[in-house]
């Protein structure tokens, strides 16, 4: 279970660039649930994930995994609990290391790196089976530097790496946004299969209304650092793409109105 209690984060406080990225988020995600997060640009989706992964210190609030408060833990200490896939398909793998070496590093997620040979006792058979499931012929490329593979191939492997040790939480941040449509479809397909099999509590950010409408058992819309909408169960299943597009238009309109109001007020004090 993943819980956020009154989480707040302001970037560059007290400067001209001050941004209230998270303005008090309370959220409780059931163990093993699959939640999709949508929201306009800058609404705080990535910051929400960062709060969980430990990318920065919180201004207020707590993050709990299975009841343990991890708010004070540095990023690398949380890693054994939290698997992540970023938007950049090259961010999740080390290009000069082989596919097998990347997988081996991921299989020791959160553990001490020892002086044991990295690939000794490697579960090559198991990895081959996993890679074969992706359906891109990657099972034959275990010993190629991963930098030789395409973005879609690398993102698929990153996804495998993130789920390899079945971490308690899985964070996916627009992990198909930078891929061509075919690769994106492939990665989403793999995501669905891996999430269904794992027991990780999954939080997936997307800008695709189709993905938001069809995937997951819960949907959250973020707006201005807050949870604006939260639907689950039967209600979530009824939501169609059209409904979500309507919601988005509404949120954008709110944005514009507030911005215009701000201008107005500022103008009066000039």
């Amino acid at each position: 279970m993943l819980r956020l209690d009154g989480v707040r984060k302001t970037f560059n406080p007290g400067t001209a660039n001050e941004v209230r990225a998270l303005a008090g988020v309370d959220l409780e995600l059931e163990a093993g649930s699959f939640t999709v997060v949508i929201g306009t640009n800058g609404s705080g989706k990535s910051t929400l994930q960062g709060a969980v992964s430990g990318a920065f210190e919180l201004d207020a609030g707590r993050v709990l995994v299975d009841g343990t408060d991890i708010s004070g833990w540095p990023e690398h200490r949380r890693a054994h609990l939290v698997g992540r896939v970023f938007q950049d398909p090259f961010a999740g793998t080390a290009p000069g290391l082989t596919v097998a070496e990347n997988l081996a590093l991921a299989s020791k997620r959160g553990k001490w790196r020892t002086l044991a040979p990295l690939l000794r006792g490697a579960k090559r058979g198991e990895w081959r089976d996993l890679l074969a499931q992706i359906g891109l012929g990657l099972e034959h490329r275990l010993d190629d530097p991963i930098g030789l593979l395409s973005g879609g191939q690398r993102q698929s492997i990153t996804l495998l790496m993130a789920t390899l040790t079945n971490p308690r939480v899985l964070l996916l941040d627009e992990h198909t946004a930078a891929l061509d449509p075919r690769s994106a479809e492939l990665v989403i397909d793999l995501t669905v299969r891996l999430v269904a099999r794992s027991s990780s509590t999954t939080l997936m950010v997307t800008h695709s209304m189709q993905q938001a409408a069809t995937l997951g058992d819960r949907l959250i819309a973020m707006h201005r650092g807050r949870v604006y909408l939260d639907v689950r169960g039967a209600e979530k299943r009824r939501l169609g793409e059209a409904d979500l597009l309507g919601l988005f238009t509404q949120m954008r309109r709110d944005d514009r109105f507030d911005a215009a109001a701000c201008e107005l007020v500022r103008g009066q004090y000039r």
Binding site: A79, G96, L97, L105, G110, R113, L118
Partner: protein, 312 residues
């Protein structure tokens, strides 16, 4: 011939330096100028310890340990206080200049008595007599013993680093250099990896300095000037020799070969009339050419070829 043997021996000592620079420059992509201070630091500590009556192996190990400490301080300054890696190195190098003078007790220190080279020098003399005839030249057999010691150390360092980079820890270091964010996401502190890597790199550089001092029988505070560029030249030359490789072992071997070849080229150039005072200038130009040359050539070719774009 005797000159060739001595040149090879020095080349192999610089190979240890090159392997150290390989670690900082190729694995971490940090041209760590701490080397200019840790090379004479290793030399100074070894010389001082020998003077205090330590045995040569311990004195050399102490020099290495000094380099490791210097490297970890550079690393800590870099990761803890977010000081640019190059600037951290410059600060450390500058600080080490004073440290080295302190360790030496004056601007230089002679090494009398036995060194790490003594056992094999003596062995070669026992085995072959005072000199050996090779290809028509008389070579002092002590020089052959020295060459053997250098070869053993260089090989051991090369093999050890290759094996190390294939361990979990070593692979984590490589991943730190290539994609730190990924490694953090996988639960490893890249700060620790960086500190450890720079410590190891400078330990090797200091080892090279300790060996060099014992070979020339003295250490002085100036002997580190340009060491980083020499190391970079060796690494880059080595990379050109072995080509773009996937195997770590071959890449490390390349650095070793690069150092030896570079030393041979320097010896040839000096024989051919190059003023030794101009050596550093020439080295810097060679390194610059080796770094920008390939890209420039590719660009030229692309322009000529028209259309086919050069790789970035």
């Amino acid at each position: 011939m005797s000159l060739l043997v001595a040149t090879l021996a020095i080349g192999l000592i610089f190979a240890v330096l090159a392997v150290g620079i390989f670690l900082s420059f190729r694995v971490y992509q940090i041209p760590d100028i701490t080397a200019d201070g840790s090379f004479p630091l290793g030399a100074a500590i070894a010389a001082r310890c020998l003077k205090e009556g330590w045995d040569p192996a311990s004195a050399t190990a102490a020099g290495m340990a000094g380099g490791a400490i210097a490297g970890s301080i550079t690393g800590l300054v870099h990761v803890r206080f977010k000081v640019n890696a190059l600037l951290s190195g410059i600060l450390m190098m500058t600080a080490l200049y004073s440290v080295n003078l302190r360790v030496l007790g004056s601007s230089n220190l002679q090494i009398a008595g036995s060194t790490v080279f003594t056992p094999l020098d003596a062995f070669a003399q026992r085995a072959f007599g005072p000199s050996v005839r090779i290809a028509g030249y008389d070579v002092p057999s002590a020089d052959l013993g020295t060459l053997l010691t250098c070869a053993i150390v260089a090989a051991a360092v090369g093999i050890a680093l290759t094996l190390f980079l294939r361990t979990e820890l070593g692979a984590a270091m490589r991943a730190t250099g290539e994609n730190a964010r990924m490694l953090r996401a996988l639960g490893t502190s890249t700060d620790r990896m960086t500190v450890l890597g720079l410590a190891m790199s400078n330990a090797l550089v200091a080892l090279s300095g300790a060996l060099f001092a014992q070979m020339q029988a003295f250490a002085d505070a100036q002997m580190g000037i340009g060491v980083i560029v020499l190391g970079l030249a060796s690494v880059i030359l080595g990379q050109t020799l072995v080509g773009p490789v996937r195997s770590i072992g071959l890449a490390v071997t390349g650095a070793i070969m690069g150092a030896v070849l570079f030393r041979l080229l320097v010896a040839l150039a000096i024989r051919a009339g190059l003023d030794a005072n101009d050596l550093k200038l020439v080295t810097a130009v060679v390194v610059l050419a080796a770094i920008v040359g390939p890209g420039w050539l590719a660009g030229l070719r692309a322009r000529r070829g028209g259309g086919s774009r050069a790789p970035a």
